[in-house]
């Protein structure tokens, strides 16, 4: 990341530097190094913190599917994240579901919620779309506050992690970590496939020129709805996992502040890049974690970091790296 913002001029020029002959291999090496890091990280870092990071990273990546790849700014994604946490916790604790089925319940619940909210909000565009997602998510927040199964202010506590497929005991922290890592990687792969698919190509064309896509016969609202539901489902995957990690589903996860936080993470890391939201989430979660014990208010620090980033690196940290000379030499595409 040291080179991320070393050469702002390189991004302005249209003449892209020739890609390094080994660019593809280096990219694979970077991905493998990150993967290795994720595998050995719990040896040096507190696993619960790492799991929290992975949950938020997946949440931000799911959000980015909508903001970065579809061009829709939702301000109600907490409903899917926190909603799924409630559904998962309820399924695991009250219905006694195994963890994978509990999470699946959460994902389906989040997708259903996404379908309803998407159908209503996508009737409008731009800021109106955003405001409708916020309003509906707030309605869901008050539902969660009042509904019996969420236990209001108390939340759903001591949720059992259970046995994966009825076999593997997830109460061991390390086992849980590798389970979360596996789900995270599957989630990222799903997003990657979704973006680089025939459907993703249509999404891209809608983002580039919506009227042209309509004139080619695409019912753009349906494609946007597809992306919205997929994003909600993946945000639900992240939320369900978080409920099992902390064995707790709370109102915090459905507040509008949570919707705002995921916007922050995504912008900070770089919208429209696969790894941007992961790094953005990592940065915010780390900051929150280290500042939680100090007396200094976390929100002021994250706000400052955000302001600096928006002013200096408008593409976000990873986005600026991709656009830098080094990033281009390695064949990263800042526009993808």
């Amino acid at each position: 990341m040291a080179h991320a913002h070393s050469n702002p001029e390189a991004t302005a020029g249209t003449d892209a530097p020739a890609p390094h002959p080994q660019a593809a291999r280096i990219r694979i090496a970077i991905v493998l190094a990150l993967l290795m890091l994720a595998l050995i990280a719990p040896l040096g870092v507190y696993p619960i913190f790492l799991m929290k990071l992975l949950c938020f990273a997946l949440f931000a990546a799911a959000f980015n599917l909508l903001l970065g790849y579809t061009g829709l700014l939702s301000f109600g994604h907490a409903a899917f994240f926190g909603g799924s946490a409630y559904f998962t916790a309820h399924a695991a604790k009250v219905w006694g579901f195994t963890p994978e089925l509990a999470i699946l319940t959460g994902v389906i619940g989040a997708a259903g919620l996404g379908l309803v909210i998407g159908l209503i909000a996508l009737r409008r565009q731009g800021i109106y779309f955003t405001m409708i997602t916020l309003a509906l998510a707030q309605m869901f927040y008050f539902f969660c506050l009042q509904a019996g199964f969420t236990h209001g202010e108390d939340g759903i506590q001591s949720v059992p992690r259970g046995h994966l497929f009825g076999l593997i005991d997830l109460s061991h922290t390390l086992t849980m970590y590798y389970f979360v890592l596996a789900v995270f990687l599957i989630g990222i792969l799903v997003i990657w496939r979704f973006v680089n698919s025939p459907f993703g190509m249509i999404l891209k064309s809608i983002r580039e020129n919506e009227n042209r896509a309509i004139s080619l016969g695409y019912s753009v609202t349906r494609y946007k709805l597809g992306a919205f539901v997929m994003s909600a489902a993946l945000a639900g995957l992240a939320g369900g996992m978080k409920a099992l990690v902390f064995q707790f589903a709370t109102l915090t996860d459905v507040t509008w502040q949570m919707s705002g936080e995921v916007v922050l993470m995504t912008l900070l890391g770089g919208i429209g890049t696969l790894l941007g939201p992961v790094f953005g989430a990592g940065l915010i979660v780390t900051l929150q974690n280290y500042l939680a014990t100090s007396n200094f208010p976390v929100t002021i620090i994250t706000g400052l970091v955000f302001m600096v980033c928006v002013l200096l690196f408008r593409r976000g940290l990873v986005g600026e790296f991709y656009a830098s000379r080094l990033g281009r030499r390695l064949g990263f595409n800042p526009e993808n």
Binding site: R193, F194, N196, S197, P198, F199, G200, M201, I202, K204, S205, E208, N209, N211, R212, A213, I214, S215, L216, G217, Y218, S219, V220, G226, M230, E335
Partner: protein
Amino acid sequence: MTNTVSPSGEARIVLSARDLGKDFAGFTAVNNVNLDVRHAQIHALIGPNGAGKTTVFNLLTKFHQPTRGKITLLGNDITQMKPDRVARMGLVRSFQISAVFPHLTVLENVRVALQRPNNLATQFWLPLKALDRLNGRAEALIDDLGLTRYRDSRAADLSYGRKRVLEIATTLALEPEVLLLDEPMAGMGHEDVHMVAGIIRDVAQSRAVLMVEHNLSVVADICHQVTVLQRGEIIAQGDYATVSQDARVRTAYMGTEG
């Protein structure tokens, strides 16, 4: 000119508008427009700036909802339909400002148009490679329109004229019955105008073309029918020779040029 003007009534009508009108907050942009576009003919829509040509286009393609009147496409009443539905029925338009997907390559631009008719638009689980089976058809169109060299260039990097050609290639990928071109030659150099005029003439052998155009020599050269709009109303209609002799047209629009 190899295409002789068929006497009206011979070729079938594919797109027609009856008493079409559009008001914007009390201002009447288009009024009483009656239009018949026929198969295998090039129909020009001309008129001074602000005459309502683009509004007529937006009404016909349903990007705007008409206040009055009726639109028929291939015998179906499309007055209440949505624009994407109309496009799927075979009425495809271009835009005044060149409408390409700038960050997609030329090949990808054409393929986007081919994806839906080939049922390759909704698969979110397939790799992009799945689209390679559209390459043959896309490349044929790219070759036909002389863009072979630019197959892998990003559309944003093409010259203005080539962007318009790419737009036509993309539109043709849908094999539309009716093609609506909004100023396809605006801002082009002489060479490009000639090339695009040739392309449009070829295209119109098997489909109807309705185009807004300012270049009257092109209109005289390739168009079978001309409709002249002024202040949202039709003031003359017929072949170019007839229209250009019309006194109202001469004073209102053509001035000394006629």
